[in-house]
Symmetry: C2
Subunit: 79 residues, 2 copies
């Protein structure tokens, strides 16, 4: 899953990365935003249940819903 | 782009998140890995040139090639 700051929230880490990239000569870079990327394995009876669990984890621990958005993709592992 | 620790590298942040999730009752969670997610806009004449630039940025600044892997997707913005 990807956890990113909401668009309206200032991202100082993104600004710092953007400035560093420009200092290295990448002068066509804009709007750098830095977020978190989390990979995990989860046992669940089906896809819907897995989605529910991931959403609950995101809300309860992994993201701060006041300032962050999250998105995720599910991928079935071999049984 | 997503920047993740190589599989062979210990990820203490992932372990901490996994333990916290378990403490919250998500006891079927395994193999949590925490990485960085970076979004940016880039002007480039074509897709190949954009890919080249993103790879160079990843190698030179955004990832540590000794311990991290990176992957990315390109998406064309409206002109």
């Amino acid at each position: 899953m990807e956890i990113t700051l909401k668009k309206a929230v200032l991202d100082p880490q993104g600004v710092a990365v953007e400035n560093s990239l420009k200092a290295l000569g990448f002068d066509r870079v804009r709007q750098v935003r830095v977020g978190k990327y989390i990979e995990l394995s989860l046992e669940a009876p089906d896809r819907d249940e897995a989605a529910l669990q991931v959403e609950e984890m995101s809300r309860r621990l992994l993201s701060n819903p006041v300032i962050e958005d999250y998105s995720y993709t599910l991928q079935e592992a071999g049984v």
